[in-house]
Structure formats: C-alpha cells, structure tokens
C-alpha cells in the first residue's frame, strides 16, 4: 500500500509538467490599456505597464502593439520588450470613440473570457482616441499614468458623480434587455485628462454623450446618491422680496445659481400603464444648501419652500429634456425596459423590441426636493 502511494506520488511529481510560473519581477504588468482602431481596420493597443528594474526609477512605461485582436496586439507589443506582458492587474481599459461607435463587445469579449482579469476593472471612453489620452497624460502628469486615470474615475464614482462603470456593470446592463450601458468619457482639457461627459450606448455601440454634470440623473436610478454636488439655475423674480436691500436695485440678470450637495437621493419608478408605456418616476432629494450667487435671506420656512419648489421645477425640466434626447438617440440607460419586462404578461423582451418601443414611452417625473440644511445665517 505504502509502496503504491510512493510510486503514485513519484509519478505525479515527475511526469506532470510544471505550472507556468509568473514571477512578478519578470512580468510587465499591464495597468491600463487603450484600444483604438487604425485606418487599416487593425487594433492598436496602447498599454501602460509596470516593470521592476533596479536601474530605472521610472516604473511605468508605455508600449504599443497592433493586431487584429486585442490579445494579438499584446503579443505584438511583447516583441518590443524583454519582459512578459501580463494582463491580470488591468485596472482600466480606455476605448477610442471610433472603436466605441463600432461596438465594444468584440473588445470586451477577451476581458470576460480571461479569468485573471478582475471583474471590477473600470471601462471608459477616450475622446478622440485612447492613445492620445494616455500619451498626453504621461507627458503632463508624470509617472504612473495608469493609476492616475483610474483614480480620476474611481474618485468620481465615490462622490456619486457617476454610477459604477466596472466591467461587470457594463456586462450586466448590456445583457439585461431593456437597459443600455453607459461609460464615462475622458478628454484632454488644458493638457490634463478630465472626465467631461457620459457616453451613452445603444446595445454596445456609442450613440451620443451627455455632459458629466447631468450624469447624476442617471446615477440616481442605479444607487442611492449621497455626496454629489449639484448646481441649478434659478429664476430671480420670485425671490425679489427676500433679497438684501442694497442688492435689491441692481438686478442684473434674471437667474441666479444655487449650489447644493445631495445628502440622500433616491428614485422609484412605477409603471402606470403597461399598454401605453406610461411610467411614473418619483425622485426624492434631500439637499444641503451651500452657495448662492445672489444674497438671499433664507431665514424662514417660506423662502426655503420657494427655493425647493424652484429646484423641483428645474430638475423636472432637466429630466424631460434628457428623456427627449435619449429617445432621439434610442438609448435607455435608466432601465425603463426592465421595468416594462417585469410588468409584461409573458415577462419576455428582446433588445430590438425595446429599441422599437423606447421612443414611444411617456414618463411623469415627480420630483420631491427637501432642503434640510442651509448652514448658519448671520
């Protein structure tokens, strides 16, 4: 018995091949990858890699490769380095606008297949191309570009400007019929990478963008928002009585701006009429007033009430505007389609079916704003 065990153990260790080892100092660890489409329809991958070397202090480096697939482009880039490129620590993948317009599933496919790639990696769109974003950032930001870009997005997710845009979220929204994915867009403004817009997709194809300031309107559908700063234009006229005396005379504009932070923002959507695609969405916002561009005496409940009413009006207006735009783009990042599907008799919905129906939906936005803090007033 023991003899047999020894023989088996011996065979196990001598005949089996060794697992390919990936010792970290011999790897070029890809941190961020940019994917662009070249004119000859080949993919160009721009990769920010970490390599560990004694001589150089600069640990991150940019390498590019081309190929018909993303993996092929990586192998192509491998020819240019003495280290093995590994994608297990990839944190952020940037897609050029052109690639995104052609559809992202072809590129994302390799990320989903690879078990080493983390599902919590972030995705983003680079405008105009990913390689431009990465290269310019490297020139102006300095070392560790990959981490820098990743942190920009991560930080804005944390402060509720965006909702989560990980690989898993994208896949979830893509495969959920009646829900279209969205990704942040990074552009270079004043030589620095900046999140400027939210890219909207129809299925996996980029169809349009909305400014990043309005991204909270979509985020509130996906999560409870807690810390985002919101700025609204508010007409001056109703507030004339509450203005400071010396300010009263020089009304130079008919709107002023108020800045709030959301303390708690939730949304709830009901389908009121399944046949005619009528929805009712309740948006509840608890705000804290931070700044006003006009000196208004906010002492007293009636001013606050008035302010709340004006903000409600503004938000409702914004939502209606957004919905019209989305209908035109035929992209549904809110997920109204999923709600339709759950209310439907047979509970089945095809993507194309929803894209036919989406332009016809009607939504009553019922916004409920409460200003619960406004700071001390002298």
């Amino acid at each position: 018995m023991i003899k047999r065990i020894i023989i088996i153990l011996f065979l196990v260790f001598s005949l089996s091949g060794c697992v390919q080892s990936k010792t970290i100092e011999r790897l070029g660890i890809i941190n961020t990858r940019g994917v662009d489409l070249r004119d000859d329809n080949e993919i160009e991958a721009t990769m920010v890699i970490y390599k560990f070397d004694l001589e150089t202090k600069n640990i991150s480096e940019i390498i590019t490769g081309t190929g018909h697939t993303v993996k092929d482009a990586r192998e192509n880039a491998n020819l240019k380095t003495g280290i093995q490129l590994a994608s297990g620590q990839i944190n952020l993948e940037l897609y050029g606008v052109e690639v995104a317009e052609q559809g992202l599933m072809r590129q994302i496919d390799t990320l989903v297949r690879d078990a080493r790639v983390s599902d919590t990696m972030l995705l983003a769109v680079g405008n105009p191309t990913a390689s431009e974003i990465i290269n310019t950032s490297e020139k102006n930001v300095g070392t560790n570009v990959g981490q820098y870009l990743h942190d920009i997005i991560q930080q804005n997710i944390k402060t509720d400007v965006l909702s989560r845009v990980t690989l898993q979220d994208f896949m979830h929204m893509y495969y959920d019929a009646g829900h279209d994915p969205f990704l942040p867009t990074i552009t270079i403004t004043e030589q620095k990478p900046t999140i400027t817009a939210l890219a909207l997709f129809k299925n996996d194809k980029l169809v349009g963008q909305i400014p990043i300031e309005k991204a909270y309107q979509i985020a509130i559908f996906n999560k409870k928002i807690k810390s985002v700063a919101l700025e609204f234009p508010i007409p001056t006229k109703p507030f004339e009585k509450y203005m400071k005396k010396d300010d009263y005379n020089d009304i130079d504009s008919d709107t002023f701006y108020a800045l709030f932070t959301a303390l708690k923002g939730t949304s709830k959507t009901k389908m009121t009429d399944v046949k005619n695609l009528h929805y009712q969405t309740d948006i509840t916002l608890k705000l804290s007033l931070h700044e006003l561009t006009k000196e208004i005496n906010v002492k007293g409940p009636e001013v606050i009430k008035l302010l709340e009413k004006q903000v409600e009006k503004e938000i409702t207006h914004q939502y209606e505007e957004l919905l019209t735009k989305l209908k035109k783009l035929n992209s549904d990042p809110f997920g109204y389609g999923s709600i339709y599907r759950t209310n439907k008799a047979d509970g089945k919905l095809k993507k194309s079916e929803w894209h036919d129906k989406f332009p016809d939906i009607e939504v009553d936005f019922n916004v409920n704003v409460k200003i619960i803090r406004h700071g001390t007033i002298p």
Partner: protein, 503 residues
Amino acid sequence: MKRTRRRKTHNNDSIFPMTVDELKKLITGKFENNHDFEFSIYEHHGKKIAVFFISYQVKTDKVEDFLLKPLLSKQGEWTSKSILNEVPLDTGSTTETLETILEKLLIGEVFVYVENDVEIVSYVLLKKEHRQLSKPENETVVLGPQVAFTESLITNLNIIRWSIRSTDLVLEKLMVGKRSPREVRIVYMKSIANETDVNTMRQRIKDLEIDQLEDSTTLMQYIEDSSTTIFPQFYSTELPDRVAYTVSQGRIAVLVENSPTAILAPSTLFSFFESTEDLYMRWNVGSFLRILRFIAMFISVVLTPLYVAAVTYHYELIPLRELITLGQSRAVVPFPPIIEAIILEFLIELLREAGARLPTKVGQTIGIVGGVIIGQAVVQAGLTSSILIIVVALSALSSFTAPSYLMGTTIRVIRYPMILLAGMLGIIGIMFGLCFLLIHLLKMTSLGRPYLSPIYPFRWVDLNKVLFRLPANYQYKRFFSFRPKDLLRYNKSEAVKKQDIDE
C-alpha cells in the same frame, strides 16, 4: 500481551528461614561491585540480627535513631512480630521473597532480619533528592499560580492533592518498565471522569512492554492513538493548575516519576491553543486572546506559502500599490520566491534552535544577532526581499503564541511542505495542503475521542469551552463531547440569580 504485574507472594516462593550469613551471601551476590550496599550484622541476646540497605537511598540518621537504637537496647529476644510492634516506625511490613526484597531495597527500604525467622521486616526510610519548586519556564503565564511541576513524583502528587481536596480524586499507581520500573500515576475524578476513558488509559499503560520509561513525553508517544501523525495527541503540561482544572472537568492526567510534565488526555486540537490564563482573564478578554491564537495558527501555516504562491503565480491577487513595492524589492533577488522563502524560514528556525540549546546568557545575544544584524544584512545582500522578512517574522511570531510547545513546533514544521506545495502548484497547492491537513485531522483521535470535537462531530453546547468563553452563568456544563459522568458543574438557575443583601 503479557502484563507486567508483580507476582503475588506465595509461601512456596519464600526463601526463609535461613541464617544471616546465607542471606548476606545471597543479597551481596545480587549487588556485585556495589560499594554502597551496607549489610551489618548485630549480635543481640545470642541471636544474629541483619540490617541492610543502600546507603544513599536511605536517611541514615533515621536508621540510627529510630531503628538501631531501639533494636539494640531492648532486653529480650526479637522476632519479626515484636519488631513490627515495638520499633517506633509506622511504615513496617514483612516480606518473604527475594524478588520483592530486591525491589524494595532499590526504592530505599531498610531491612531487618532476625536469624532463622520466617519473614523479613522492612521500613520505608527513603531519601529522595529533588529540586525546589520553581516558576514555569515553558508555559509561562502572567496571571494565576506560578508553580511548575518538579521531577519528584511525591512533590507533584502533593501539589495536586492540595489543588483538588476531594475524596473523589484518584491517583492510581502503575509500574511501567521491565528492566528498571518507574511509577506512573493516573489521576482522575472518580465521580466525573468517563469510565471508558479511564479504562482505556489504564489498559494502554498496563499493556506496555518496554525495558524502561524515559519521561512522560516518551510515555505519551508509547500510548498515543497514531504514531505516524505529526500532531501531538495529548497535552503535555508543567502547570499544576492546568492539571487540576482539566482533571476537575472530567479528563485524565498521567504523571510519571522523574518527569516534570503531566500528560492530559483526551485532548482536542483546540485544547492546544487554550491557556489557563484565558480562565483567569475576564470572559471577553479571554475569548479575544483565544481567538487571537487561532488566527495566529492560521497565519503561521498559511502566510509564507501565500506569499510564495502570489509572487510566483498569482500576481493579480496582490493589491496594485503593494505590487509595485513588492516588485521593486523582488527585482534585487536572484532566486525564485520558493528558494528565497525557504532560506529565510530556515534562518529563523536555526536562530530558534540555537537560542534554545545555548545557555540563557548566550541565548539572548543570539536573539539580537539574529533579529537585528542578520535580518538587515540578508536584505542588503539581496538574498531576500524586505517584505518577505516581515512575512516570515510574522508567521514565526504567530507560531510562538501556541501555549503548547509541542503544538508550536508542529505548526512550524507543517509550514515547510506547505511552502513547497505553494512553490510548485500555487494556491491550488495551498488548498491541496490545507485539505490534506483537514482530512487528516478529521480522522485523528485522542484516547479514542475525536480530535476535532466539538467542531466534528459538531456540538453546539461545547463551543463556548473551546472557541471562546462566556460569563460564568453560561459555563455551567462540562465538556459534553467527552461524556463526563456528571455533566453539570452547577445549577443554571442558581447561577443566574443575584444575591444582594437581604433586608
């Protein structure tokens, strides 16, 4: 198997009556070249009286004062009966066979023989040298009694008797060893200890056929359930309070003559991580310390292998910022991670072993040399990465938190195959190793009781004695998994009651 039991003295084995000269010839023949054997013959009222003993085994002043004086000053003849009656010593007994005489002679009895009598009289006047009671060295505790067992069995029994002042306490005596027998005591509470356990222990010790017994730790190896395993199956302790507590909870202790440690049985894996200090602390602090030790054990077994596996195969597991520092420090090292880890683990083990073997004064310098100088130099020489130093130090430190030295050593040894597995197969190897250990532990028993109880077989009521502690009013039961005769320590409803001053 044959039992090494002393044969009963039958009359037909008797060597008496005989003359004193014959007796001298017979006994000295058995002690050739033994200069310490004293055989003196006295003439008293025309009868020869022989007195013999081994000089350093006996308190000679007592022999003179209480035996020889009355013996020689009496008017009239002596017989064995009158000696027993009139000599003012209370340990007298009579013997007839040569075998028993020799046996008793060795443990320090003094023999008196009146010529041509049918039996010989002996007195226990033994002298036994032993060291003073001292502080525990291996199982140090901050709180609680600061006494450790000594090599003297009498002293140890004395301490235990004072710790458990109960008529229920049994200190059963057995002799082990054919060539040079040693006294072994089985200690248990008659009314609590499970009878099956006591019988098993008694039978295992009785069935032993060995020439001699070196120590309680060797006895442990002779009677344990599985000799192939790396895990100790009985707890070996030098703390009398631990023995007293364990015995009063219905388990069995075994003491061996000339051994300063007691064996506690049955033991579970978890009992090796319990310290008596847990009991002396408040329950919440005690629980914390106990859980800390379990975590420490896990860290000790898994941390270094995990480093090796992560650095060799699973770079995606390491947090990104750590990956950069780790990569930079690894870039210096010319070896693969597995060699690097083994070098450093080996170094730590060398330091520990050297520190334990050297005298205490020199041992302290070893600590400094090892910790400060070698640790620094190894990193500077580029033999290991600086992060590995932390990993190895942490896992070595963790292994020392086990209150049982035997278990601590076991855990340190387990680490090596785990490192090899991690180096060859990555995390799959670690999982393989852990599963192997788990299956092995599941199969193990201690004195026939499952080694992993109360986790397997699962006993909800026993968890509070093993994994954590609860306030006294919840600890009213004994350890159910070991089936004590009396499960309840005290009444639950009484324990909950608060008795304030009656007005």
